[in-house]
């Protein structure tokens, strides 16, 4: 069991925006009822929204030894189908509005429904340590899932609770989805200390969010770079939020000028601004910049979390000892996950990483040992905090538009789609936005006379100009 809820029996574990509350004792009871229906260890697809049903499902399955795969509730139907047929879950835990033709309803609670799938009798072997499955890139529907163990989650929870000094009087509000590892880490850590999660499905751009946050005395929230850009545009620092104590940031690199702005504002108003770094492959967190250093080390992700170590690896595989030398960031710690799964059979696999993760991020450290991420080894972007693999996007486009020569490039929050057929570009853009759920304002299109390639036929991405015309 991951959490010991009996230690905080009478504390409120969760409060939603509609005024519903559950104490830890009640949450424990709800968990027992739900897991009883699931009847033993099995795989469940959880369709996530920041609402009570989704919350109770996640917490109960994880604590009850049932393995949830966390997926966005608004996922494209075809991409969902693909994952569903690949992994053959025994159950689906989803909002009542989710339609399942061939399933059998087992239980209903908080607007969510546990549906037994026709795969119910198929025996899927689950490794005993397997706790949770998360997508590497939810928007492209890649069947690749990250396998997290109970020990991974326990270790990362302990580290985060320690460096953030979390206690039972915290009241974090949900700004990040439950299928996203950063969002889960906020739930995991606060439930561990007996704090109260403020649950809302609304965004920081909506009045209902701030009304709820203010009325219920929210003490902290987390945000990806895009969250902080939105807050900046909204002149957030003029807002009166007396209970707010801590703001954390992860999910990509924040612009240095915004880092400075929030760090200064927090320092001036007696708050803490904490920049962090992590990946789903490391459960959630690998590094953090202590708030006391937030102004001295702008742009840095800080140091390794308690219990972990960071090092930089050069091209020959050796460890870099000299400051300001770029190498691939390697992390070691108990929160390094077991590995990936590509199909149902992989769910039985043991730990394949042995506590070592090559992050694929290029970084350097300074004389004081503070790390800064400077680039990426692989071709992916963060779109509003979510990883988007550019090669997967290209594959999806080529499958749908086989006659069009195309390529994708760009920077975080700005994807550029290149094609030789100018007339096809608007349709490709609209299709891609619909399929991935990415807002089309983050996708630019550019017609080119040809997609530059080398002699071996590999696309020369550096020759594609992603600047706006």
């Amino acid at each position: 069991m991951l959490w010991k809820f009996e230690r905080h029996q009478s504390n409120i574990a969760v409060e939603d925006e509609y005024g519903r509350q559950l104490t830890y004792a009640e949450l424990r009871h709800e968990g027992r009822m739900l897991c009883q229906q699931a009847d033993g260890r099995c795989l469940v697809f959880c369709l996530c929204r920041n609402v009570m049903g989704s919350f109770v499902g996640y917490v109960s399955f994880l604590n009850g030894g049932v393995v949830p795969a966390m997926l966005p509730a608004d996922m494209d139907a075809e991409l969902f189908r693909n994952l569903y047929e690949t992994y053959r879950p025994k159950y689906i835990w989803a909002p009542e509005s989710f339609s399942m033709e061939d399933g059998c309803c087992r239980y209903e609670r908080f607007g969510y429904r546990l549906t037994q799938t026709p795969f119910g009798d198929v025996e899927t072997r689950l490794a005993p340590e397997l706790a949770l499955l998360l997508t590497t890139s939810g928007s492209t529907g890649s069947p690749k899932l990250v396998r997290q163990s109970y020990r991974n989650i326990r270790a990362n929870t302990d580290s985060i609770v320690q460096y953030l000094h979390l206690q039972a009087d915290e009241r974090p509000v949900t700004t990040l989805p439950m299928h996203y590892t950063y969002g889960l880490s906020i739930l995991n850590t606060h439930l561990d200390v007996g704090a109260t999660v403020l649950l809302t499905d609304k965004s920081v751009t909506q009045k209902e969010f701030w009304t709820f946050f203010r009325a219920r005395g929210g003490t902290s929230f987390g945000g990806v770079p895009y969250t902080y850009e939105m807050l900046d545009r909204m002149r957030f620092t003029h807002m009166d939020l007396p209970a707010l104590r801590t703001m954390t940031q992860a999910g990509g690199k924040l612009m240095p000028e915004l880092h400075r702005k929030y760090a200064e504002w927090c320092q001036k108003t007696g708050r803490q601004f904490i920049v962090m770094y992590g990946q789903c492959e490391a459960t959630a967190r690998m590094a953090y910049l202590p708030w006391e250093m937030s102004l001295q080390k702008i742009g840095s992700v800080g140091v390794a979390i308690p219990g972990g170590t960071l090092e930089l690896i050069d091209e020959n595989g050796g460890a870099i000892q000299t400051p300001h030398t770029v190498g691939e960031l390697r992390y070691r710690g108990e929160n390094v996950t077991l590995g990936y799964a590509e199909n149902a059979a992989d769910l039985a696999l043991p730990d394949e990483r042995g506590g070592v993760l090559d992050t694929g991020d290029m970084a350097e450290f300074d004389e004081d040992g503070y790390y800064t991420i400077v680039g990426r080894k692989k071709r992916f972007l963060k779109m509003y905090g979510n990883r988007v693999n550019l090669d997967e996007i290209e594959r999806m486009l080529k499958a749908r538009f086989p006659d069009v020569e195309c390529a994708c490039a760009g920077s975080d929050d700005h994807l550029t789609l290149f094609a030789t057929d100018a007339a096809a570009l608007p349709e490709m853009r609209a299709w891609l936005a619909g399929k991935t759920g990415l807002n089309s304002s983050g996708i630019s299109i550019k017609a080119v006379s040809e997609i530059p390639k080398n002699e071996a036929g590999k696309t020369l991405y550096k020759e594609l100009d992603t600047n706006d015309d």
Binding site: S203, R233, M234, R235, G437
Partner: protein
Amino acid sequence: MTNQEKYLNAFVAALEVAPGEAPTLTYGESKSWDSVGHMALVAALEDAFDIMMEMDDIIDLSSFDKGKEILRKYAVEI
């Protein structure tokens, strides 16, 4: 261009919807009106009418009709 046209164009451009669809839109109901679309819409309205919206108004902008009401505060009559 009349204010009414400018207002409609801001919705059409920012949320990428048909002009006929725009007046029925509310935040969260339409796929393109998520938090990213919302910020694009605010930017489009600010550009179109040369105004700077306050945070309280930005977060209050929840439908096509509500936006008209909000813009009145900035002396823009739709």
